[in-house]
């Protein structure tokens, strides 16, 4: 029981560390110069057309007087003009965006490669048996649903890592086929 506890603590710590790694880019990288700006929107005023001004200043300097340059109205009108303008301070993190998009694209790419592998390469490697048709709709082959449905511990202990991985992959494929039958063929769930 002590070993189980240690394993669980280790996996929780690993998870927390992973989450911190994901979240730390936004925490660190907010302050590079291209990631902050003060945006002032000034509407049309008298015969001056509307304009948008951008400048990267800090939050305390984010007001009309610092950002709107060159000032289109003469000195005594500046206050009236600036009352119409609205200035907002905005921050973003380009690193976060880049990291997330690249993570997403790599996951999609990996899944596509795996799907291509399963469809094209896998049937050639393995000897054809009942479980190697991953993407086709299954025919209705009802197995005998008696004691076989109860999960019993497997007899032969697969010792090498490769055999265990293969065993896990076979089990997963069977599970996906069952799910596919339920959802797509028999329309029993998720119509």
């Amino acid at each position: 029981m002590f070993a189980q506890c240690v394993w669980k603590c280790a996996s929780s710590l690993l998870l927390v560390a992973l989450l911190c790694c994901i979240l730390s880019p936004p925490a660190q990288a907010g302050k590079s110069s291209e990631d902050i700006r003060c945006k002032c929107i000034c509407p049309p005023y008298r015969n001056i057309s509307g304009h948008i001004y951008n400048k990267n200043v800090s939050q305390k300097d984010c007001n009309c007087l610092h950002v709107v340059e060159p000032m289109p109205v003469p000195g005594n009108d500046v206050e009236a003009y600036c009352l119409l303008c609205e200035c907002k301070y905005e921050e973003r993190s380009t690193t976060t965006i880049k990291v997330i998009i690249i993570i997403y694209l790599s996951v999609v790419g990996a899944l596509l490669l795996y799907m291509a592998f399963l469809v094209l390469v896998d049937p050639l490697i393995r000897k054809p048996d009942a479980y190697t048709q991953p993407l086709h709709n299954e025919e209705e082959n009802e197995d005998a649903r008696s004691l076989a449905t109860v999960p019993t511990p497997s007899g032969a202990r697969a010792n090498t890592v490769l055999e265990r991985v293969e065993g896990a992959q076979q089990r997963w494929k069977r599970q996906v086929q069952e799910q596919r039958k339920t959802v797509f063929d028999r329309h029993k769930m998720l119509s």
């Binding site: 189980q4 119409l84 991953p134």
Partner: protein
């Protein structure tokens, strides 16, 4: 015993004699040799019946011995036994508390066990918030990818690409770094050919995204399609669907949700985000023994995870908790309320720190106007409520009809082709109209926006009178040509969205329907709002307007009408009440608008309920035949338990197991011949006195284990469920004791119990089956499926539509 007297008595008292004959004809034997003494000394440990002090410790030893792996778990597509799970958790808690006094390590263990719930909520919030941030940022980028690409870095979407450069006031979208596809390919963006090229690229990207989504769903995780909320409701009521909340479903749902939303289909991501959050909850439960082994505790965690999911979808933590309470959860103890709030808050905070929208907002359409509204405006708000109710009822009917067609006809055989065709139609119809070309969230955000002097969109092109502008407070103005163009474009968009959503919701890609319903309502509300505004401007001398809306005043806010319309339509479809109002005012920050929102939500719910009883999620549950016992409806018929129980009049008698006279072979024969998931155990076939109830799965696992591990167990070994083995000649093979898997306290009702009470018992206790007795003898069994079929029969629905066991 006077048997004749008993028989006479029974003929006089029973109402349907044929059922009772079997019982009344048996010999009534009150001798005590077959059964355990009624005051079992294991309970008190104080009597010395049959052997003395040793027996007092036997229960303790039975409890401490580890159960076989697999006993106490459930098969796929079965209902859990809430009572058993809850009592197991209480036992576990008692054991830990009693052991905590022994050593420091045990004390630490008990403290960490108490905190494990909060730690789990923290992890769920972090993971759900991170995934929601990933989904938001990727969806924004991919949506804009249909229109062009950023030269300064391909990972920027349109808004971020133009972040640094100076855009003009009137044309806020154009900047040199962002190139549309025609600009990239042809070198210029104007002209008919460029338009056609943009159109073509838009449709191609949309088709590519949706095809990729459906292929990934079909290839890796077929459970990742659809909204997920009906299935999660069923799971939370006690049903088991293995794999529905697993790792692969999580990964595929996250990835394909982004693809489906980016392809321009008329669907949202709120429902799937609830599914994603529940998957996170289920996966993280495996870190803690307390939640991994107990299905009832796990469902508490899933309720909290659902709250976290809605919280990150809308940026509304409180609304998320209320949504989980009202829509998703079946049992919601008060302890779950506080933990759900914690999980929702952590998730919202995580999402905010990832900052997907660049301005510390959680949701794209956060508006912050605070214009007052007038009491007379309640009339158009109620009109919007009626529209929302009507649309909700219409949508539910047509969507269910279409889904039923998909389930039963050949349409369901071509899911990939269906997605392709629907995406093609959506993309081709959506591109020409700028309000359907933009993503639905952007559309809603623009519709909620109140027009000020800083806005230059087409919807805000009013005729401005410059001399009378003072600050940001604009009066009601006459609509300029831009507004009229926007109005008919919005009307076309409304018609298109109303019809295309019917075919989109329920396809084999992750699809939610909060955002499309809100879009329909927002468009209708904005149209009505602009109409009211123009009416007030041109006819400010009418009696209804003259009191409060004089010329030059800013009285009508079309943005508010859009908000109220969105709430009305969402309420009409999902029939949410309190959670809807809370989500809407958390979205907008406008506490002044609670009354209009409530009025519209109530009206829409009344109108929709008058047309059809069920919300969209309950309708989908009924369509799929999930065994979900509706907790909100009253059972108002006068049937009795004996009308519902099995075996019926012409059926073979109830399959029972005796407590000490059946062999392993007999039990295996029963298991093979019947498919029931549990068997009552009686004292003997003649007396039919109830001992307990044993589950099929536990029997199978125990017998197989005994055959392999225990010596001497053969097919002719006797199985006994009593505490002490029945006396047998010494030459017989060794006997198998299976008392540990026997449930000694099954729930029973008498045959004369009204079904109202039986249904109430099933709902409140979460039972899976209930035994029926007559005069103390076992008569039959009522399962949850029988109750559901009975309710369906009485409501004139098809009782065979209840599919699962």
């Amino acid at each position: 015993m006077d048997q004749k007297g008993y028989r006479r008595g029974s003929y006089q008292s029973s109402t349907s004699d044929e059922d009772m004959v079997e019982i009344a004809g048996t010999s009534l034997d009150f001798s005590m040799t077959d059964d355990d003494p009624p005051l079992d000394q294991e309970m008190g440990g104080f009597s010395t019946y049959n052997g003395g002090g040793m027996n007092g410790t036997s229960k303790m030893m039975d409890f401490l011995e580890e159960p076989l792996p697999g006993v106490g778990t459930y098969e796929d597509f079965n209902t859990i036994d809430w009572v058993r799970e809850k009592s197991r958790d209480r036992d576990r808690h008692r054991e830990i508390t009693s052991r905590s006094k022994e050593s420091t390590w045990a004390l630490i263990h008990s403290v960490s066990d108490a905190f494990s719930g909060w730690l789990l909520m923290l992890f769920i919030g972090l993971l759900a918030g991170s995934l929601a941030g990933l989904i938001d940022i990727s969806a924004h980028w991919m949506t804009d990818l249909k229109e062009g690409v950023c030269l300064a870095g391909f990972w920027f979407n349109h808004e971020h690409c133009c972040w640094k450069s100076n855009t003009t006031f009137t044309d806020r979208d154009k900047c040199p770094e962002w190139k549309s596809w025609s600009q990239l390919i042809l070198g210029h963006g104007e002209g008919a050919f460029a338009y056609i090229l943009n159109y073509f690229m838009y449709v191609i990207w949309a088709l590519l995204f949706s095809l990729l989504a459906v292929l990934l769903v079909k290839g890796f995780a077929p459970y990742a399609c659809g909204s997920g909320i009906p299935e999660i409701k069923t799971i939370l009521s006690g049903f088991i669907i293995r794999g529905y909340l697993g790792k692969w479903t999580l990964i595929i749902k996250t990835i394909t949700l982004v693809l489906a939303v980016s392809s321009g289909l008329s669907l949202g991501k709120e429902g799937p985000l609830v599914h994603v959050a529940c998957c996170c909850g289920n996966i993280l439960c495996h870190l803690f023994t307390k939640y991994r082994k107990n299905e009832a505790k796990r469902r508490e965690v899933l309720s909290a995870a659902a709250a976290a999911g809605v919280s990150v979808a809308f940026g509304a933590p409180i609304g998320g908790v209320l949504f989980s309470l009202e829509e998703v959860s079946y049992y919601f103890p008060l302890k779950t309320l506080w933990r759900s709030f914690f999980a929702a808050l952590v998730a919202a905070f995580t999402l905010r720190s990832i900052n997907p929208f660049g301005n510390s907002r959680l949701v794209l359409f956060y508006v912050e106007f605070h214009m007052p509204w007038h009491l007379l405006e309640l009339i158009p708000f109620i009109l919007l409520g009626i529209f929302g109710g009507l649309w909700g009822a219409f949508f539910i009917r047509s969507n269910i009809a279409w889904c039923r067609r998909r389930k039963t006809t050949k349409l369901g055989k071509y899911p990939v082709l269906e997605v392709f065709v629907v995406t093609a139609i959506t993309a081709i119809l959506a591109f020409p109209n700028e309000y359907t070309r933009m993503s639905t969230s952007e559309l809603i955000s623009e519709l909620f926006n109140d027009c000020g002097i800083l806005d230059s969109s087409k919807l805000c092109e009013y005729v401005n009178d410059f001399n009378s502008t003072k600050g940001d407070d604009l009066p009601d103005r006459a609509a300029g040509p831009g507004v009229y163009t926007a109005m008919w474009q919005l009307a076309l968009a409304l018609i298109m969205k109303v019809f295309i959503t019917i075919f989109t919701f329920g396809m084999k890609v992750p699809s939610g329907l909060f955002i499309p319903s809100m879009a329909v309502g927002a468009i209708a509300g904005r149209l009505l709002g602009v109409g009211m505004e123009q009416l007030a401007f041109y006819h400010h001398d009418w009696i209804i307007f003259s009191g409060w809306c004089s010329q030059g005043a800013d009285c009508i806010t079309p943005g508010l009408y859009a908000m109220v319309g969105a709430a009305a339509c969402l309420g009409g479809v999902t029939r949410m009440t309190v959670s809807l109002v809370v989500i809407m005012f958390e979205l907008t920050g406008g506490l002044e608008y609670i009354v209009p929102l409530m009025a519209a939500a109530m009206t829409s719910k009344w109108v929709a309920d008058a047309i059809g009883r069920e919300g969209i999620y309950d309708a989908h549950i009924r369509l799929n035949g999930y065994p979900f016992l509706e907790a909100k409806e009253e059972f108002s018929h006068k049937t009795l338990a004996m009308d519902v129980m099995r075996p019926r009049r012409n059926d073979p008698p109830l399959t029972v197991i005796t407590q000490g006279s059946m062999t392993v072979e007999d039990v295996e024969a029963i298991i093979n011949e019947t498919t029931y998931s549990g068997y009552p155990v009686v004292v003997s076939r003649e007396s039919q006195r109830l001992v307990g109830f044993v589950l099929r799965r536990d029997l199978i696992i125990s017998i197989e284990n005994a055959r392999k591990k225990q010596d001497g167990i053969v097919s002719t070994s006797i199985i006994y469920f009593t505490d002490h083995s029945p006396p047998l000649p010494p030459s017989s093979p060794s006997m198998l004791k299976l008392r540990s898997i026997l449930d000694l306290s099954p729930f029973t009702v008498t045959d004369q119990t009204p079904m109202e009470i039986v249904v109430d018992i099933f709902r409140k206790l979460g039972l899976r089956q209930c035994l029926v007795t007559h005069n103390g003898k076992l008569l039959g069994i009522i399962t949850k499926k029988d109750v559901l079929k009975h309710i369906a029969q009485l409501a004139n629905q098809d009782p065979d539509s209840i599919l699962f066991n």
